[in-house]
Amino acid sequence: MKFIITSLKLLRSLQALSGVLNSSNTLPILDDFLFKIVDNELFITASDLETTMIVSLIPDLVEGGGEVAIPARILLDTMKTFPDIPITFEINRENLAVEIKAGEGKFRLAGHRSDEFPQLPVLVDTSRVEIQAEVLVNAFEKTVFATGNDELRPAMSGVLCELKEDHMTFVATDAHKLVRYRRFDAKSEHNASFILPKKPINQLKNILSSKQDEIVVLEFNQTNSVFTFSNVKMVCRLIEGRYPNYEAVIPAQNPNKLTIDRAALLNSLKRVAIFANQSTHQVRFKIAGQELILSAEDLDYSNEAKERLSCSFEGDDLEIGFNSRFFQEMLNNLDHSEIRLEMSAPNRAGILFPVDNENENEDILMLVMPVMLNQ
């Protein structure tokens, strides 16, 4: 088996694939890329058992067929060093030795048997839906930061995808903050929902961000989902378990409404948070009239900060505390110039909306739980 391919083309694909690889694996074969040639087409696979990604490429020249597993690290490191030149791969069928020729250089490394590489799961009973790549990129960008890390609650470590007949909803929460991203221009024929793990989400987000016009074909069943677009196919195992009932925790009656410039609030919050306790990052929001006063203190170091912002506010004066980290993450993940914070009471959730969203098909809701201030 032999093929010739330009180094940059190969490197781009390998780098995209490398996101799937774990830094330490129990199965040594998972440190490899699987190379496979069928009908003049090269398929490269990376897998961590949970997520498997396959990229197909057309090499400049192909002789013979077959498959071999090649150590990923050494291949990536080598490819990074080349300028854009053609590279010849020659694999010895007998001993699986891989010989790479590039320019004046000649490199040799030992390949591994391809049958050790994990097989792709066979999907039965699948549903199929087509989604605009831009929808997925936005949905994943807006939600993935809010996922949890608690091993005891695996469902919350992923993003819930709800496909409905008139909209799609993507939800992430760690029980302290929650994001609900809804699109009315993405629909599915059948109602369905599943929880997608963080890793394929980040992977898809990165790859799709440069391919926003593509159509992504999503096939899924109870246990797995497959994303297919251009020359990429990604198979990922879904997170099992029940997602918490998120709609129930979004308060419906929020008479206190604060509208404020997002960048101004974010800037002040960043500054004030420097003076907050560095373990709890708590910042106090005091809203009176048309004024928002942010304050924080760290008694251990006698640090104290207070900053006043003008805002527009309707409702009763209110004092509420938030973990500034959560709040900053939310503000960072919105790209609108103004936001609205709706609250009902100091012990109940605050809800963040963008004001004047230009995209009519988009509905973003972010929720953050306060800290229980002493009265």
Partner: protein, 388 residues
Amino acid sequence: MERTIVHMDLDTFFVSVERLINPSLEGKPVIIGGTSDRGVVASCSYEARRFGVHSAMPMRMAKQLCSQAVYVRGDMELYTRYSRLVTDVIAESAPVYEKTSVDEHYLDLTGMDRFFGCYKWTHELRQRIIKHTGLPISFGLSANKTVSKIATGQAKPNGELQVLSTQVNSFLDPLSIRKIPMVGEVGYRLLRSMGVATIGTLRLVPPVMIEQVLGKNGIVIWRKANGIDPTPVKPYTEQKSISSEHTYEQDTTDIMQLRQTISAIVEKLAFEMRSKEKLTGCVTVKIRYANFDTHSQQKQIPYTAFDHILLDTVLGLFGKLYNRRMLIRLVGVRFSHLVGGSQQLNMFEDTPEIANLYQTMDSIRRRFGKDAVVRAGGISSEKIKVKR
């Protein structure tokens, strides 16, 4: 560089506070400690010491030695308040100070002699403390913590003593090795059996020999005998943990009772944390069996100050810890890794009702006293104290 370290110690602190409140105790032997049979002496007046009573002695023995003494239960909260008064006066003027216990402070005055004269300055500070608080206090002034502390011991009661760096050895040599802070009952007996009675003798013993007898600590003790102690005065830092333990009147295996005690301890500690706007990140449970075998286990948790979360964790640890069917003498709970902040609410677990319940219960406690409202599961006949 030569340092100047002051050790200040309040004389029979608990007794002094009690006398301040009740002047009729003046001149009488006073003993403070748990009044039950199993309590120990926490503090006693000089009059009581004449009868052979000393702190940490079982109460029963103290009663035999000195039946005419006035026995006081002791009020830790009151003592803490007075202790803080003293600390406040020191903090006002001292450049660096360390509070090592409720009645002891170390001050680092290095470099101040060029401007003030350390002895004069400390003397004035002592007078200020006596004037502000009405409590007798003694101090020792020397080149390091150990010598200063020993000097304070010699200066007591109500005195002051300076040991210049040139006089350190001549000051220490004639004293008993008991005066060295690290030498306890066991170490004292061992050294005495070797024929070492005074610090001067100890100083001349080769350090290798002492290490053989007392282990690694032997070297430290030998250095102290030579007046060498490089430990710095660490500035007073925020409280890092809060704990409480309970010794039963009678050893018990009654799970219900044990859980009640634990529940009451957790509730009190958690309330105190919430009042001070603190959260804990680490929970430790300790049990002591009747034979004094002591075991403890700890667990890191996300920062919290909620009773129900802490109680779950603590009871879980207790369940793991209590695996021998033996009588228990003591249970204790410690919350450490304290950080400033308020409880982060969880959208799925903490309903607004729970948050409101905590706030209402806390405001009732603040208004009508800590015991005004408690969990039914924590009600028991025994009184639980909180200490740090």
